[in-house]
């Protein structure tokens, strides 16, 4: 197989994304130091043999913090994608296969959600339930719903006009069954690509929410929270902000590369090996 050579960005992105995901998972069972361990005496150490990436203003080990923070970011973002896809895709399919009033309702509902940026939703939820990682998940998840609804509807509409849908109707299938049996499997690839991209957007959003204090709360940590903690000492100890910042950038780029690569790999027009070209 020469597929990986056709889509280098896919494999680069997937590789880097998986590396960070693995790092995050390892933090569940092992970190070099416990992240709650505060030791003012050893604060602001640079990278060294004991603390590989140094320590922060409370003397916590930066390696451990980055690992745990990455885990939080991934978890929040993945749960938000699950909420968005779990609600948005059925809504999109409903809109596409029923049309008429349900479609109008779904579209206006997603317009309504689109009108509120994630940060406003987060502030609203925080005002009601208090800040925390769970509320960040909800806020980003709600923000994801219309995105998935539109992708699902658009994809489903392009398949809906094909004859196999008419054939299913002739075979006595109802709208729901057609959506589930015929449309969903065909739009799954689109949803997966969008999921990868929303995962990276979610990580950015989580960092933003934690940065303004609406997301993850100490003693738990996330990459955004680390940025917030380090901003006061940025001029004296820039390393403490650069490190979580670079991690966010690397994760987001990796996931975007993976998403773009997946899109290319799935797009039948770019499938070079088996297709017939321009044959009339």
């Amino acid at each position: 197989m020469t597929h990986w050579r056709l889509h280098p960005s896919l494999w680069l992105g997937l590789g880097a994304g998986l590396f960070f995901a693995l790092l995050a998972l390892v933090s569940l069972v092992w970190t070099p130091f416990p992240i709650e361990e505060i030791n003012i005496g050893r604060r602001f150490q640079g990278p060294g043999p004991v603390h590989w990436l140094g320590t922060d203003h409370l003397g916590r080990d930066m390696t451990s913090l980055i690992m745990a923070g990455t885990f939080t970011s991934f978890l929040v973002s993945a749960l938000a994608v699950a909420i968005g896809a779990g609600i948005g895709v059925p809504l999109g399919l409903l809109a596409a296969s029923w049309g008429g009033v349900p479609e109008w309702l779904v579209l206006r509902f997603s317009d309504f959600l689109f009108a509120f940026p994630a940060i406003i939703v987060a502030i609203l939820i925080t005002a009601l339930f208090g800040p925390g990682a769970i509320n960040a998940v909800l806020a980003i998840g709600i923000f994801n719903i219309p995105v998935f609804a539109r992708v699902a509807r658009g994809g489903a509409l392009s398949f809906k006009t094909l004859d196999f849908i008419a054939a299913a109707r002739l075979a006595g299938m109802g709208n729901g069954e057609i959506a589930f049996r015929h449309l969903l499997p065909n739009i799954m690839s689109l949803v997966i690509v969008q999921g990868t991209i929303q995962l990276s957007l979610g990580i950015l959003a989580e960092a933003g929410l934690s940065y303004v204090g609406l997301g993850t709360q100490p003693p738990a940590t996330s990459l955004g929270l680390m940025l917030r903690d380090a901003q006061g000492v940025f001029l004296i100890h820039p390393w403490l902000s650069v490190l979580p910042g670079l991690s966010i950038v690397a994760i987001v780029i990796a996931l975007n590369l993976a998403g773009d690569g997946l899109r290319d790999a799935i797009d039948p027009r770019l499938r070079a090996e088996s297709g017939t070209y321009g044959a009339a």
Partner: protein
Amino acid sequence: MALLEVDNLSVRFGKRPVVAGVSFAIERGERFGIIGESGSGKTLTAMAITGLLPDGARQEGDIRLDGEPLPRAEKPMARLRGKRFGIVFQEPMTALNPLMRVGEQIAEAVRLNQGPQAGVPQLLQEVGLDPAHARRFPHQLSGGQRQRVMIAMALASQPDMLIADEPTSALDLITQKRVLDLIAEICTRRQMALLFISHDLKAVAALCSRVAVMHDGKLIEAGPADAVFRTPQADYTRRLIAASKLASAGPARRPDGETLLEARGLVRDYRHNGFWRWQEKPLRAVDGVSFSLSRGECVALVGPSGCGKTTLARIIAGLDSASGGELVFEGETYHGRDLPRGQRRDLSLVFQDPFGSFNPRQTIAQSVGEPLRLLPDLSPMDRHQRVVEAVAAVGLDAGMLERYPHEFSGGQRQRLAIARALVTRPKLVVLDEPVSALDVSVRGEVLALLARLREEYGLSYLCISHDLDMVRAIADRILVMEAGRIVEEGTPETLFAQPQHRLTRELVAARLPDVA
């Protein structure tokens, strides 16, 4: 010296050659035709000549114009292409810019050419369009008119050679004849060479003096049109010519006179969606259609594109509902979508496009067995047995059932679509252009299959088509439809011998003569 010489041309994608060692030459003013089925490499040959090969294609061999090799660089090639070649594509809707008036598009083609200038009105007149059409947008023109605009654009640069790639395959029969006549007339008047690419032997025979036959990327046979069509040398050419003559299916079971389906005054209106909907006059696609179909009969519905025949088929099959009138099927009255579930198993539809009619993510067994949902009493074993029987009946192997649609050719898919239509053992099958998306060489096979199945299972067909030759081969009775109405009815013999209505006469006259 020849105008265009193609010497040992090869085109490959990766390691797979799609055009292999093709050589031919076209003299000034000569009309040269390339015949080939889908995947034969004929379109890629034309693209290589015009320097329009898609990314990823590698070209080998020489192409010379007036003895000079074509430039490989993009810019000089684009200039040469604009000046020396006029190109007409297959699909006239996508080849024109939908946001520009056609006059501006022709004027642009004129402006890009630095040679002697021709005016837009003259060009439009030359292709037989009223100069007033210059103010229109592409969507306001019919398919044939758009193709004329394409030809006018191709003529703007006063080219030495017109390259036409399937220019008429998206058009109906009457328009096809007119466009072919127009191309012939212009080539004669301008002393222009023609490279005509088509799968349609009759169109090539009507237009070209010399032809080449391509198959699997290779040039199999070339020579004067008469010689190739009368005394074909290669086996493949012989098969192609035989397939283009659709033999009548022979004596079918005579219909026993009992009425199976009856339509009474069917009407279908489409309303445009819009804010001012009460102001719009509805578009009437089907306008008071009445006919009846007996058990065991094959009735064909013929008409130009847009005459409402597909809408009618969808209403009869229960995919759309009539706005007025009613249908009676086996004594049961319905209006379209309200076709009772118990009757659906007795009525099925074969779709036109074999590529869109199967879910790419389902196996053939799942797709073919889908209509069996209408027979809930069947056990899983019986179900499987039915699918195997249906697939065997269309001449395919039951071992193929676990494969996916993309592994099958167009002809095989159409057989599978027929198998799906037969799996519930229906009494009436509606065939919507059953062979028009297929290659010439498999059309005959599919029609023979349909005739055999009709014999074996005592089926009735309602066949929708624009192709009179196809219809003549299978139908017992023909209905001619225009603008939503049935304008003439008769057996194939009487209709072809004494067409009464203007449209029927035009349709009969537009048939291209048989080759050889």
